[in-house]
Assembly symmetry: C2
Homo-oligomer: 500 residues x 2
Amino acid sequence: MSAPRPQAEGEAAPAAAPPRHSGELGSTQASHRLLAYSDALLSIIATVMILPVAHTKIHPDQTLGESVQQLLLTKIAVYLMTFLIVTVAWAAHVRLFQVIELIDDVLALLNLACMMIITFLPYTFSLMASFPGVPFGIFMFSTCAIVIGLIQAVIVAYGFYHPYLLNRQIQVSENQAFYKHHILQIILRGPVLCFLAAIFSFFFIPMSYVLLGLVIFLPHITRLIIWCKNKTVGPKDDEESHRLEALAFYLNEPLSKERVEAFSDGVYAIVATLLILDICEDNVPDSKEVKDKFHDRLTEALSEYGPNFLAYFASFVTTGLLWFVHHSLFLYITKTTRFMGLLNTFSLAFIGGLPLAYQLTSEFAEKSHNEIEAIQVSCVITFFASIFQFAIWITALFHERETLHPLARYGGKEHAFMFAKLALYPCVSLGAFFLTCLLSKFSTAIFHIVQIVVPFAFLALRILVRISLAIIKSMLSLSRRKNVVLDEEETCLSPAETLS
Amino acid sequence: MSAPRPQAEGEAAPAAAPPRHSGELGSTQASHRLLAYSDALLSIIATVMILPVAHTKIHPDQTLGESVQQLLLTKIAVYLMTFLIVTVAWAAHVRLFQVIELIDDVLALLNLACMMIITFLPYTFSLMASFPGVPFGIFMFSTCAIVIGLIQAVIVAYGFYHPYLLNRQIQVSENQAFYKHHILQIILRGPVLCFLAAIFSFFFIPMSYVLLGLVIFLPHITRLIIWCKNKTVGPKDDEESHRLEALAFYLNEPLSKERVEAFSDGVYAIVATLLILDICEDNVPDSKEVKDKFHDRLTEALSEYGPNFLAYFASFVTTGLLWFVHHSLFLYITKTTRFMGLLNTFSLAFIGGLPLAYQLTSEFAEKSHNEIEAIQVSCVITFFASIFQFAIWITALFHERETLHPLARYGGKEHAFMFAKLALYPCVSLGAFFLTCLLSKFSTAIFHIVQIVVPFAFLALRILVRISLAIIKSMLSLSRRKNVVLDEEETCLSPAETLS
């Protein structure tokens, strides 16, 4: 959490950083780095399957609409399923390591084994997509899921067998058995469904796919049912609700904010860097061609690739700025509820689609009949990626006392600017989309230049919002003093009050 | 730094996490997430260029030795240059954000611009490798490097213009101008050399390459010269040495341990996950082939890919365990000196070569004449990756009071086990290498199984080391009490004493 303060670190580290229980237990370690590494692995695995989608060659004489339909059936489905399933696995991992706070070598190795099998999941999806009628793909996936579940169950068992590894609160709690039961239930829910899917795969395959879909949405469905029940019947009796309250944290805030950030960072980083790979493999001119066609003038040969470079920089800018918006948003978010986590996942799934947008717009840069459609696909991807970020903000505003920092709430200093920042990309992409519908011709070059210019819009926005706020304030200058007092009161609210 | 303690976090976050100077400056932010994102971007960019190396097809009738020579000339050179230059850029970035501790929107956007140009560097190297005789590649690279330097100089200027963004120590320091000068010097050293390289590229290209090589090793060469000077002439006069002492931190510990870990994690994570991409693109059988050749029996078709799966799991296990060793090592390292950072870079450069090892061993799985050579390449890569880790440990031991946690020093509880952990991979890979030299035939399958079995060796090691330690202790039981007292004294050393 802390910004690197080098001097302090150099002095404090020998005493603070390594084994926390060094007195009693030499090999026990803080888990933060293991978690960071797992987040990196999971986010890369979730996103990397966009590459086969992006690399699918589309013949210039084929219309893009048809090709996208063909793609949709197999590769995009693989990408989305991988992304969503890995996110579910990641969420289970987050909850697991909210219960187990310290690790030792055995847990680290078990976790690595778990990661190894998760990284293999994309392959099982590829099999499923290529052979949707053969049970083997589903069977293989289910086996992996069950093995992952078993390893995580072993981790839980190991953790509860060595209670000093557990969360402090659970360590001192009387009903440890209840916690253990609860966390095992969360972890094994998915594998049990997969087990059923594996059985069904041998005589009724569609049922298996329904069960697999259920794995992704089950946590949210159960949450919805509980929410509906509470609304209609009212909360349960006293003893039960007391128990639930004790577990409230695990039910309501399953995602630690730090790990949501780490996972998102991984996705944004891999998306931003995947693009250069394509550039390096496809857009280095062949030395023979340069000799024959361009008479050894390299710059001329490179100018052919101009649109690709423009597309690359535009994509990088878009990814980078969407990260920037995400960063600004989570700076003011103090708690990530499960629903916000879901919205974040959707946003990230579209972010993962950006390499596809790059590929399409750079491929159809010459004015072919697919150019407008390529731009439209880009706009749609950008729009959904940003609108889900906006939705996180709206959701946070609904419970602003619990989920937002005072500065970003209604009336806070940063509220208006935050709103403008989040609204920028949905507006721009929607505008570009409607423009392509109206015009019959639209150049990708202009589209990319618009993408590159957007960051300056951010700086302009800041100035604009300030000016407009100043105008509003000066207009309301009569009631100003009162406002200032209110403002300060809100900013100084103690955390305890904020949460209650 | 802290392990996620959810309860505490939920309560403390509203007050602690967001804008640190929220009172005076609404838009100022802690920089930790920006840095984590930059680390992720840089580590991925550094490693991703191994893919073109790994994807180079080698004809089965070609001997591997020749092919590797051909590869060496272009693609491996691109990979290594990218890796080393990106590491230099990363080190400059670390030092920059050790001076500037808080960020605002302008700095975040400037940093993103800087990242964008760094991600473009691999392309310039690809150009250089394809057209070594044409100045344009060098010219393009130099332009990028100069732009990066200028952006970073703007960041420094902006930081010193808004002093509340700076490191606390520099904020209160009297000679801010000296610090500014010093950090600008570090940042602009590379770009100035690149500028010279760009000029030389037009009339004497070899000189340009020498200058580019100098960019990588200049910091280490100057350090060596200073070190030699101090040894021969003795340290400088009083006033100067006082000044240097004030800057001692920036000269001696240029790398914050957190960021070294984050960068290394990124490299390990991308290497572990790049492999599944190849599996998913190359090893999903074609549905038509399955029908014609295997009579719709998918499992039979898949069994052809058995060696690939084995190679995949073996590579993942190797990468994962080398991460595990790195993790264990840095758990006990309290300070990363510049030399340790260099060793870590070398280790990571070889880690980045693991996908190549995977590709070779899985390609030559059938007993071709290249099988043994493929295994030897794997062994060499693994050996160097692990021996450099071992070298970090040795270097740390030389200054153990400053760089190691008491538990890992000579006589510490974890010392012997740490030693065994670090020595395992060099020994195994060296053993395998000599075995391949002795035997005329050696199966990749056996090699991969050995790789997969290694984690159990780690668990066995722990038990073995404990038993042998117990035996030694019981033998020395007479002088035991004295030892225990010494042990405790060392463990309790205060950090101030440790550093002095």
